[in-house]
C-alpha cells in the first residue's frame, strides 16, 4: 500500500488528482469550475458533434444550391428558427434528467445551489451556442458574404440562433426542474417547441387575416413579444429586409419600427426571455427536494 502523503514538507502528492487541480483550486469560483466540467462532459458527447455537422452541412448545401447570398441566408434563417429551439429544449431537458445523480453528488458538496444551477445551465448552453455559431458561420465566411447588408444579416442570424439557444435551454431547465417524471417533462418540452416555433406564427396570421379590418398593429406587436421565436424572426427580418416573405407578424414589426429601435426592443425582449426562465428555474431548483 502506497501512502497518499509523501515528502518531508507534508505537501500532499496527488497522483490521481493532478497538481494542476491544486493550482486552480484556491479562490476559483465554484460556478466557473462546474461550467468547465459540464462543458467537458457535453463536448465529448457525440450528439454535440452531430449538431455542429448538421448546421455545417445545411449551410454549405444552401450556399451551393440555394441561389444567391441573401436567399441562402433567408433559408438558413428559417432552419435556424426551427432547429435551435428544438435542440435547445430537447437536449436541455434530457441533459438535466440524466444528470440527476450527478447533481445529487454535487449538492452533497459545499456548493451553493444557485451556483450549481448556473454552472449546469451555462455548461450546456454555451457549447450548444458555440457549435451553432461555428456550424452556420464558418461556411458563410468561407464562401464570402459579399454585400455589407448581408454581413449585418449574418450577424443578426448568429445572434438570433445564440439567443434562441439560451432561451430554450433555460425553458428546458425550468421544465425539467418542475417535472419529476421525465416522460412528462420531455412531452411538455416538445409541446412548447411545437407551439412557439411552428403553430404560433400561423395562429397570429389567422388572427391578422380574420380581423384584417381592425387596427391590430399594437396587439400583434404584443403577441410577438410573447414568443421568443417570433421575436428572433422579427430581428432577422429587420436585417434581411424581406418582411413580407416571412409571415404577417414580421411585416407589421418592420413597418412599425425603424431598424434601430426595433432591434433594440427585440434584443431587450429576448434578454428577458432568457432571464425570466433562468431565474424561475433557479428559484425552483433552490427549493427542490432531491
Amino acid at each position: 500500500m502506497t501512502p497518499a502523503v509523501s515528502g518531508a514538507t507534508g505537501e500532499p502528492v496527488l497522483r490521481v488528482v493532478t497538481p494542476q487541480a491544486r493550482r486552480t483550486a484556491r479562490g476559483a469560483r465554484p460556478m466557473v469550475k462546474i461550467i468547465q466540467y459540464v462543458m467537458h462532459d457535453v463536448v465529448r458527447g457525440h450528439w454535440l458533434l452531430a449538431y455542429g455537422a448538421f448546421f455545417l452541412l445545411v449551410t454549405e448545401a444552401l450556399l451551393r444550391f440555394g441561389g444567391g447570398g441573401t436567399r441562402a441566408l433567408l433559408s438558413l434563417a428559417n432552419v435556424t428558427l426551427l432547429v435551435t429551439p428544438l435542440v435547445g429544449i430537447a437536449f436541455g431537458t434530457m441533459y438535466l434528467y440524466n444528470a440527476r445523480e450527478f447533481i445529487e453528488l454535487l449538492l452533497a458538496q459545499p456548493v451553493r445551489r444557485r451556483q450549481l444551477f448556473g454552472g449546469l445551465y451555462l455548461g450546456l448552453a454555451l457549447p450548444l451556442a458555440v457549435v451553432f455559431v461555428v456550424g452556420a458561420g464558418v461556411p458563410l465566411l468561407l464562401h464570402g458574404v459579399a454585400e455589407p447588408g448581408d454581413r449585418a444579416a449574418l450577424a443578426a442570424l448568429l445572434v438570433a440562433g445564440v439567443g434562441l439557444t439560451l432561451v430554450f435551454v433555460a425553458l428546458a431547465f425550468l421544465i425539467a426542474v418542475r417535472n419529476e417524471d421525465r416522460i412528462r417533462g420531455l412531452g411538455i418540452a416538445i409541446a412548447v417547441w411545437l407551439v412557439t416555433a411552428v403553430l404560433y406564427d400561423g395562429a397570429v396570421l389567422l388572427v391578422a387575416t380574420t380581423f384584417a379590418e381592425y387596427p391590430l398593429e399594437r396587439a400583434l406587436l404584443a403577441l410577438m413579444l410573447l414568443n421568443p421565436v417570433d421575436l428572433a424572426r422579427v430581428a432577422l427580418l429587420l436585417q434581411l429586409d424581406v418582411g413580407a416573405l416571412m409571415g404577417y407578424t414580421g411585416a407589421v414589426f418592420q413597418r412599425f419600427f425603424g431598424t434601430a429601435a426595433g432591434m433594440g426592443l427585440a434584443a431587450m425582449a429576448l434578454a428577458l426571455w432568457i432571464a425570466v426562465p433562468v431565474l424561475l428555474g433557479q428559484r425552483l431548483f433552490c427549493r427542490k427536494d432531491f
Binding site: T2, V17, A28, Y37, D41, L107, P110, V111
Partner: protein, 243 residues
C-alpha cells in the same frame, strides 16, 4: 455530532418523517435501519440538505445546518446509486471535487484507489466502467477529503465480497481514527460487523436508538437480525427499556 429534533417532512399525501428525534454520537458507527418507506433515505437527504424538512431542526456539532452550505465540507457522502457524467473519467470527477472543495488541510485520502486496484480504470470514461467499479469510485469520493462525518447509503450494494471486505475494513479503521459514520444497509451481517449504535425507524419516527448491545438486551435476542425483526413486527417503542 448530529442532533435532530422534531423533523417532519411530507411528500404529497405521505408523511415521510413524522417528528423524528435522533442523536448521532461522534466517533461511532450508527446504522439506520427500518422497513421500506420508513424514512431512511429522506432522513439522510435532510442531513445532507438535499431535501428541506417542513419542520424541525438538524444541528451539526451544535450549529443548525439550514441556510449554509459550508457544513457539508465536513461530510463525505456515498449515495446508493453511483452515476456520473458518462463522458468524464473518474479522475476528472475526483479532480472536480477537489476543485470545488479545495484541498483539505491534510492530504487527499486516495487509499481506496490502491486497495481496490482501480487506478488504471480512473482514466477511462465512467460510462464504460462496470457498476461495481463505479461504486468503488463512489466510495473513494466519500473518503477523499477525510471528512468528520461519512454518510454511506447501502455502501456494499454492487460490490463483490473482496471489495466489500476492503470497504468495511476501511470504515472500521477510519472510525477508530475518530470519524463518525451514518450507515444504511439491508444486509444484517454487515450491520452486525460494523454498527456500534442502531437507530430503528418506523413510519417516520425513531422507535429505538442506542447501542447494538442494548437492542439485543431489550429484545432478548442475541442475533441482530432477530432483534430487528422483533422490533419490526411488534413496533414496540423501546427507548425506555434501552436507557
Amino acid at each position: 455530532m448530529i442532533d435532530i429534533h422534531g423533523l417532519r417532512k411530507r411528500f404529497g399525501p405521505l408523511q415521510v418523517l413524522d417528528g423524528l428525534d435522533l442523536h448521532i454520537r461522534p466517533g461511532r458507527i450508527t446504522a439506520i435501519v427500518g422497513p421500506n418507506a420508513s424514512g431512511k433515505t429522506t432522513l439522510i437527504k435532510s442531513i445532507l440538505g438535499l431535501a428541506t424538512p417542513d419542520a424541525g431542526e438538524i444541528r451539526m456539532a451544535g450549529v443548525p445546518v439550514t441556510g449554509d452550505d459550508r457544513y457539508r465540507a465536513r461530510i463525505g457522502y456515498m449515495p446508493q446509486i453511483a452515476r456520473f457524467p458518462s463522458n468524464l473519467t473518474a479522475a476528472e470527477v475526483l479532480r472536480m471535487l477537489v476543485d470545488l472543495r479545495g484541498p483539505a488541510d491534510g492530504s487527499m485520502d486516495e487509499e481506496l484507489a490502491d486497495l481496490f486496484e482501480i487506478t488504471p480504470q480512473l482514466h477511462k470514461p465512467l460510462g464504460v466502467l462496470s457498476g461495481g467499479t463505479r461504486q468503488k469510485v463512489n466510495a473513494m469520493c466519500a473518503f477523499l477529503f477525510r471528512p468528520d462525518l461519512l454518510i454511506l447509503d447501502e455502501p456494499t450494494a454492487g460490490l463483490d465480497p473482496v471489495a466489500s471486505g476492503i470497504l468495511k475494513d476501511k470504515v472500521l479503521r477510519e472510525c477508530a481514527d475518530g470519524r463518525t459514520f451514518i450507515l444504511t444497509s439491508h444486509i444484517v451481517s454487515e450491520l452486525e460487523e460494523l454498527a456500534d449504535d442502531v437507530a430503528f425507524l418506523l413510519e417516520g419516527r425513531v422507535r429505538f436508538s442506542g447501542p447494538v448491545a442494548a437492542l439485543k438486551r431489550a429484545t432478548g435476542h442475541e442475533q441482530l437480525e432477530r432483534a430487528i425483526a422483533r422490533v419490526m413486527l411488534r413496533g414496540m417503542p423501546l427507548e425506555a427499556v434501552a436507557s
